[in-house]
């Protein structure tokens, strides 16, 4: 890292209807540094990055790149200046190959290849291939880049078939292909397994050594302490301060972010387990491609108990949760809720049996994005009194209920009537959690419940989940975050290749042992 400033924002202000997303923000990035950007949900991090990338125009303020003031009209301008961005929600076309995604907008054409003199029929040939893509040439370049940076990608793979970790690599290669020397990574680790995150850090370090400057947004304080050269903290649209990891610790960062002290560990009484609420016997489930993803899983959860399912993503947890919530039909096995086997495995029937579901993918299964926040908050109960009386919605009841949840769960939104799509990623998550935890239930199925949340919100939701348990609710917690499982669960089951390979009491569980089980190593 040098003191040469490559990117600088001066007094950036951006207003959306009802919110001041960025308020006179100053930010700078030095050559060859990893500059972490922290801040609670809705603090304005993504907005600032979108401005630096040319997607939004600031209402006021200046942007300087390599010592010169610039105006960014569109990403085209920022790309030309060497800025690349990996977005919080990936910007890849699923039905395109890796090559097509990477070349999009920066295509290499056949006529640009080779510098032969053109005469006669060759000229004709060139005119014919005017706009023809050179897929092979690009694939070769991609192969070179991946080799150079150790970013393994298959240029011919269909992006929609790739796991998120690889998709992210494609995004990084996409930026490097455009010769980006300033790289913005917006919450890159939120969707990664710990192993994948480690891999990402290795790549980031390598890029830094080659002089690439990186802005790294995350909510995970451990990661910040481990990889950042400098740390800037934002709160409510403003910059609170910039520190170095040497001069700070996690607790201080947390309190800078949320403006109060955060308790990073969860306090929990021993469990008072009651009668059995959920029983699963010999469940077998096929995934979307028809392969058996869950191969004979059995377990039970009692009232007032949290069962944590640990495991590297993609070992059948997604399918298991989908089956338990009626989104996918198992082809063998039984599901019993409160001792009764459900005849009807539809989502509504399961929901009415007293089940709450926090889905893994909030945008696909958790929210109706174009609907107002208030409508999303009553999505499971709109047809029941007091929200729906004789098929007529009761706006007053919905309004006061929504207002209460927005307050209780600290959902940062200008009002209850903006579309859920306008909220920041973390606040969208809070809408889902608020809806699911606020109705009378006896079983909570939570899949990655704190994905993308800031430490303050995680603290709140963790406490909420424990409180639910203490009220006698059975909780199934699925998380790729081993810390989360260790902190909350009373019992831990480890899933590997569609089976539960081990089940232990949380008190006697050892981190390393669980890590080994997750990796498929058995004593």
């Amino acid at each position: 890292m040098t003191d040469e400033i490559v990117l600088q924002a001066k007094g950036i202000t951006k207003r959306f209807p009802g919110v001041l997303a960025n308020d006179r923000v100053d930010f700078d990035l030095c050559k060859g540094e990893i500059h972490a950007l922290l801040g609670e949900n809705g603090a304005g991090k993504t907005t600032l990055m979108n401005i630096l990338y040319g997607l939004y125009r600031p209402d006021a303020g200046e942007i300087w790149v390599n010592g010169r003031q610039v105006t960014l009209h569109s990403p085209r301008d920022s790309i030309r200046l060497g800025i690349g961005m990996v977005h919080q929600h990936f910007m890849l076309v699923p039905v395109f190959t890796v090559t097509e995604n990477i070349m999009l907008g920066a295509e290499t054409l056949h006529r640009e290849m080779g510098g032969m003199p053109v005469t006669g029929w060759q000229r004709w040939w060139q005119t014919i291939q005017l706009d023809v893509l050179d897929r092979q040439g690009v694939a070769k370049k991609i192969a070179e880049l991946s080799h150079q940076y150790g970013l393994d990608v298959d240029p011919d793979a269909m992006v929609g078939d790739l796991p998120v970790g690889i998709q992210q690599r494609v995004e990084i290669v996409k930026a490097l292909y455009r010769q980006a020397n300033i790289l913005i990574l917006d919450e890159p680790t939120a969707v990664l397994t710990p192993q994948e995150a480690e891999e990402l850090f290795r790549i980031m370090n390598q890029l830094r050594e080659r002089g690439v400057s990186i802005i790294f947004i995350t909510h995970k304080l451990k990661e910040v302490m481990a990889v950042a050269d400098r740390i800037t903290v934002m709160r409510a649209g403003r910059v609170v301060g910039t520190v170095t990891p040497q001069a700070t610790d996690e607790a201080q960062l947390a309190s800078m972010m949320v403006g109060r002290n955060v308790i990073l560990t969860v306090e929990k009484k021993p469990t008072q387990a009651g009668e059995e609420v959920l029983r699963v016997e010999g469940l077998r489930i096929r995934d979307a491609r028809g392969l058996e993803a869950v191969r004979g899983v059995s377990f039970s959860i009692r009232a007032g108990e949290i069962l944590g399912i640990a495991g590297v993503q993609g070992n059948g947890q997604t399918e298991l949760v989908e089956a338990l919530t009626g989104l996918r039909l198992p082809h063998a096995g039984r599901i019993l809720i409160a001792g009764r086997e459900l005849e009807d495995l539809s989502p509504r029937a399961i929901l009415e049996a007293g089940t709450a579901h926090i889905p893994e993918d909030r945008q696909r299964h958790g929210l109706v994005l174009p609907y107002a926040v208030a409508d999303n908050l009553v999505l499971c109960t709109y047809y029941q009194p007091p929200f729906g009386v004789r098929s007529v919605l009761q706006p007053k009841a919905i309004d006061s209920y929504a207002g209460r949840l927005i307050q209780d769960f600290d959902i940062r939104t200008p009002s209850a009537y903006v579309a859920a799509s306008k909220l920041s990623g973390g606040n969208q998550q809070k809408v889902v959690v608020a809806r699911e935890l606020s109705r009378p239930i006896r079983l909570l199925i939570a899949n990655q419940p704190t994905r993308g949340l800031d430490v303050g919100s995680i603290e709140y939701i963790h406490r909420e989940i424990v409180a639910m348990r203490d009220q006698g609710i059975a909780v199934l917690l699925v998380s790729a975050e081993l810390d989360e499982i260790m902190a909350l669960a009373d019992r831990i089951a480890v899933m590997y290749r569609g089976q539960i390979v081990a089940e232990v009491d949380a008190q006697s569980a050892r981190r390393e042992q669980i890590g080994l089980w997750m990796a498929g190593v058995h004593d």
Partner: protein, 356 residues
């Protein structure tokens, strides 16, 4: 487009052809019947093919266009009108008048498409409503002008429809058209040839060029396209207008190639059937063309049947009622759209206005 789908299409066409052969073989040799059916099928599929290509350009860029029917109708009218003007008022020879008419038709399609782009891309009006507006507008304008110009006292043509300059001449492909019997298939009119050529060109453009890559990206994930510096609005505008030009050429078929007159509502649902062909062809040019040929074959059956009315065997007496056969394309449309031959997948952002 998978092979199962092409197989299904081939099967249906084979069935339709067989029916004709069964009926006509007492009078005419099967080879002659099949050849004649094939030639007619290719010709009458032309507007459907062009309509489907029009839809492909629009929808691959993410804009639903149900206004193709109206674009074709308007193009048919204005192309025809232009040819008459050129021929009678400006005294051009028939062939240049017809060519001028085709140009006018194509431009009409483009102009209506520009309106559709304005409504759906710039003003973000619901795209179905935008398309409906175009359909209604086309019916109104063509009907009104047709009456005003030709049937009102004191109008330019004095309440009398002048003779149109005929239809576009046939072009025989050298060598191929000289084969006995089957040569007939290679002796077609220019818009028909153009449609087939455009199928190939569209396929190439869509899947092998920068234009096509960007178009498809905008139709699948406009925000991703935006983040790599592609202007979503520009791409949508261009493709919708190109689609309009195609629909315009399809419209020209009705009044300048098939017959030499205009009748109100003469497109008769062809624009909508071409959308069905586009869907059944899974938004690919060759698939859509193949699907258009099914409808072409059904129509060819109806046309050829007229020559064999007397010899229809009693078991098939029902076919004597001409509208039973006439219904075939519409019934086929419904069957095909139920998805019995597997599901098709539209572009992911099809029909959604793009907002930053």
């Amino acid at each position: 487009m998978d092979w199962r789908r092409f197989g299904f299409i081939a099967l249906i066409i084979a069935i339709l052809f067989s029916v004709m052969v069964l009926i006509g073989r007492v009078q005419t040799s099967p080879i002659v019947i099949v050849t004649s059916m094939m030639a007619t099928t290719i010709a009458v599929a032309t507007p459907l093919t062009l309509g489907a290509l029009s839809g492909i350009f629009c929808e691959r860029a993410g804009v639903v266009n149900i206004g193709i029917e109206g674009m074709m109708l308007a193009a048919a009218f204005f192309g025809w009108l232009a040819s008459i003007y050129l021929n009678h008022v400006y005294k051009f020879a028939p062939l240049p008048s017809l060519i001028g008419g085709v140009v006018a038709a194509v431009l009409t399609g483009g102009l209506f498409a520009l309106l559709h782009a304005l409504l759906s891309v710039t003003f973000k009006v619901d795209q179905i409503i935008g398309g409906t507006v175009i359909n209604i507008l086309a019916v109104g304008i063509t009907g009104f002008l047709n009456r005003q110009l030709f049937f009102e006292e004191g109008s330019i043509f004095g309440g009398d429809v002048p003779h149109a300059p005929g239809t576009l001449p046939r072009i025989a492909i050298p060598i191929l058209a000289d084969f006995p019997v089957v040569g007939r298939i290679f002796d077609q009119q220019p818009i028909t040839f153009a449609a087939i050529l455009l199928v190939m060109v569209t396929h190439f453009v869509l899947f092998y060029t920068r234009w096509g890559l960007r178009t498809r990206a905008v139709g699948e994930h406009p925000r991703a396209a935006d983040t790599v510096g592609i202007s979503v609005e520009r791409v949508r505008y261009m493709n919708v207008v190109i689609g309009g030009l195609m629909a315009g050429l399809g419209g020209a078929y009705f009044t300048l190639e098939s017959v030499s007159s205009f009748e109100p509502l003469m497109t008769n649902g062809r624009g909508f059937i071409s959308l069905a062909a586009m869907i059944f062809g899974n938004w690919t040019p060759f698939g859509a063309w193949a699907a258009a040929l099914i409808f072409g074959a059904a129509q060819a059956l109806q046309i050829n049947m007229q020559f064999f009315r007397e010899v229809i065997p009693p078991q098939l007496a029902i076919l004597q009622i001409s509208y039973v056969v006439g219904l075939a394309p519409y019934i086929l449309t419904m069957i095909i759209l139920t998805g019995i031959v597997g599901k098709t997948v539209p572009p992911a952002a099809d029909g959604q206005p793009y907002e930053k």
